[in-house]
C-alpha cells in the first residue's frame, strides 16, 4: 500500500507528533514557523518532502539535536531549582552580552584566571592556618609562608590542567572548592575591615559576648591594671584611654579570669581599672550552668562590686612593688572567687 506524498502540513504535524514529549512552550518555540519553512522547501523542488528531508521522525530527531544541543531523543529532564537558576544565569549572560562593557569584561576575564588560582591557594592556606589558631591576613612565621607557597603552587597546578574538568564529578568538586575559596576570601576581607574590634566576654550568660569596636589592647601579657597614686594609695575605677581616645581593653578571659558581673546595677565598664576579676581555674573555660546564677550577688561579697575589687592590694601595698602586681592576683583573687561566676560566663572561644 503506497501513501501519497505528504503535504507540508502533514509533514509538520508528523514532526510535531514526534516531539510530543517536549514541553508545549518549548515545542511551539521550536516549531514556530516550521510550516512556512516546509512549504518553502516543497515549492522550491518538486521532490516529495519525505524523499528530500527523510522521514518526519528523523527530521524531528535532527531538529531536537540542533535545538537542544543533545543528540539523544529521550532528553533527560533536569528540572528543579538548580536548572532554573543556571538557565536564569545563562539568559542574563546572553542579555548582558549586548553591553560593550560587559563584552570587554568577558573578553579579558580568562586572563585573570591565573591570578585567581594564586589567590585561591593563599586563601586556603590562611584558612588552614586559622584552623590551627594562627589567624590573620598574613602568615606570621616561616612555616606559614611555606604552606602558602605550597598551596598556591598546587592551586596553579590544578588550574593549568583543564582536563581535570572533563569529568562531571571533578568539575562539580572543583567548582565547589572555588566557591568555598571565594566565600573564605570574602570573610577574610570583611574581617580586615575591623582590625581594631575586640571580643569582650563578661562572666555572665545574660551579657554574652560583646564586641567593643575600636579598642586598644596592651599586648598578650597584661590582663588587669592596678593603678596606684604617688603615695601608694590604690585607685579604683580608673578609666584608661590610649592616645587616640580609644578605651584600653584587656582580655582576662585568656588567663583563666573573668570579669565579675553584679546581679544588680550596671555591668562593669571594661576600661575601668582594676577590673573585678574572678578566676575559673587554669585551662578551664567557664560553662554556663543551666539554671545557675549568671551573676554575683552584690550584697554578701563585697569583692564582687567593682569598687571592692582590689583584694589583691595587700600584697602590693608597698609602693615599690607597684610595677609588678601582676604576679600576685592569681592566689589572692582565688579567695574572692565565688562559685557563681566561675560556672557562668561565655561559651565562646577566646579571641586575641
Amino acid at each position: 500500500m503506497t501513501k501519497p506524498p505528504m503535504t507540508p502540513g502533514e509533514y509538520a504535524d508528523a514532526v510535531r507528533a514526534a516531539l510530543a514529549d517536549l514541553p508545549p512552550d518549548d515545542r511551539e518555540e521550536l516549531l514556530d514557523d516550521l510550516d512556512d519553512h516546509l512549504a518553502e522547501i516543497a515549492s522550491e523542488s518538486g521532490m516529495p518532502l519525505e524523499e528530500r528531508l527523510g522521514p518526519p521522525e528523523s527530521y524531528a530527531a535532527e531538529l531536537r539535536a540542533a535545538y537542544g544541543g543533545r543528540p539523544t531523543t529521550t532528553r533527560p529532564r533536569r528540572g528543579g531549582p538548580w536548572a532554573w537558576a543556571t538557565g536564569l544565569i545563562r539568559a542574563a549572560h546572553g542579555r548582558l552580552l549586548g553591553l560593550p562593557a560587559y563584552r570587554e569584561v568577558v573578553a579579558f576575564w580568562p586572563e585573570l584566571r591565573p591570578a585567581w588560582w594564586l589567590v585561591r591557594g593563599y586563601v586556603v592556606a590562611l584558612a588552614l592556618l586559622g584552623m590551627i589558631g594562627r589567624g590573620g591576613p598574613i602568615p606570621g612565621d616561616l612555616a606559614g609562608w611555606v604552606l602558602v607557597v605550597v598551596l598556591a603552587c598546587g592551586s596553579v597546578w590544578l588550574g593549568r590542567r583543564p582536563r581535570l574538568r572533563e569529568r562531571r564529578w571533578r568539575r562539580t568538586l572543583l567548582t565547589g572548592a572555588d566557591a568555598l575559596a571565594a566565600l573564605l576570601l570574602l570573610v577574610l576581607l570583611t574581617s580586615w575591615d575591623r582590625p581594631d574590634a575586640q571580643e569582650v566576654t563578661f562572666a555572665s550568660p545574660q551579657m554574652g559576648r560583646v564586641w567593643v569596636d575600636n579598642a586598644a589592647g596592651l599586648g598578650d601579657e597584661v590582663y588587669n591594671i592596678l593603678p596606684y597614686a604617688a603615695d601608694g594609695t590604690p585607685l579604683h575605677d580608673v578609666r584608661l584611654y590610649d592616645q587616640d581616645g580609644r578605651p584600653i581593653i584587656v582580655n582576662p578571659e585568656m588567663f583563666g579570669q573573668s570579669v565579675i558581673v553584679p546581679c544588680e546595677g550596671e555591668p562593669p565598664i571594661r576600661n575601668a581599672y582594676p577590673l573585678p576579676l574572678s578566676s575559673f581555674g587554669a585551662g578551664e573555660w567557664p560553662r554556663p550552668k543551666p539554671g545557675g546564677p549568671g551573676c554575683v550577688p552584690t550584697g554578701p561579697t563585697p569583692s564582687a562590686s567593682p569598687s571592692a575589687a582590689p583584694s589583691v592590694t595587700p600584697s602590693a601595698a608597698d609602693a615599690s612593688a607597684t610595677p609588678s602586681p601582676s604576679a600576685e592576683p592569681g592566689p589572692s583573687e582565688s579567695g574572692s572567687a565565688e562559685p557563681g561566676p566561675s560556672e557562668s560566663g561565655s561559651s565562646g572561644t577566646p579571641k586575641s
Binding site: 518555540e29 521550536l30 514556530d32 514557523d33 516550521l34 510550516d35 512556512d36 519553512h37 512549504a39 518553502e40 522547501i41 515549492s43 522550491e44 528530500r52 528531508l53 527530521y59 524531528a60 535532527e62 531538529l63 531536537r64 539535536a65 540542533a66 535545538y67 537542544g68 544541543g69 539568559a91 546572553g94 542579555r95 552580552l97 549586548g98 563584552r103 568577558v106 573578553a107
Partner: protein, 108 residues
C-alpha cells in the same frame, strides 16, 4: 572522517557567519551554506539552530509577506549575535591554526 561530525561543533558559527553577510530566512540560510560548500548540512539542523539562536537572544526576526509563496521569516544578527560571532570566530581561528600546525607534517 565524517564531516557531519565536525559540522555539529561549528554549525552555530556557520549560521552566524551567513547571517552576518545579510539577513536570511530558513531555507535561504540552508541554501547559502550548501553553496558555500557545506553540502552535507541538514535542513533540520539549520532550522533548529536558527530557532535556538533566536531563543538565546542572538537573532532578530521579522516576517516578510511574499506574493508567490508562503510568508518568510527572516533572521538577522543583533548585538548579542555579533558578539557571539566575534568570540566564536576567534576561538575557531586559533583552533584551526593549531590543527593546521599539527597536520603540517602529517598531511601529504
Amino acid at each position: 572522517m565524517d564531516s557531519s561530525q565536525l559540522l555539529k561543533g561549528v554549525l552555530d558559527l556557520a549560521v552566524l557567519a551567513v547571517l552576518a553577510e545579510r539577513d536570511g530566512y530558513g531555507y535561504d540560510v540552508v541554501r547559502r551554506l550548501r553553496e558555500a560548500g557545506l553540502e552535507d548540512i541538514g535542513d533540520a539542523s539549520v532550522y533548529g539552530t536558527l530557532r535556538r539562536l533566536f531563543k538565546a537572544g542572538a537573532l532578530t526576526s521579522y516576517v516578510v509577506a511574499s506574493d508567490e509563496g508562503p510568508h518568510r521569516k527572516y533572521y538577522g544578527l543583533n548585538d548579542v549575535g555579533r558578539a557571539r560571532l566575534a568570540s566564536s570566530a576567534s576561538t575557531w581561528t586559533s583552533f584551526a591554526a593549531t590543527m593546521n600546525d599539527l597536520l603540517k607534517d602529517a598531511a601529504p
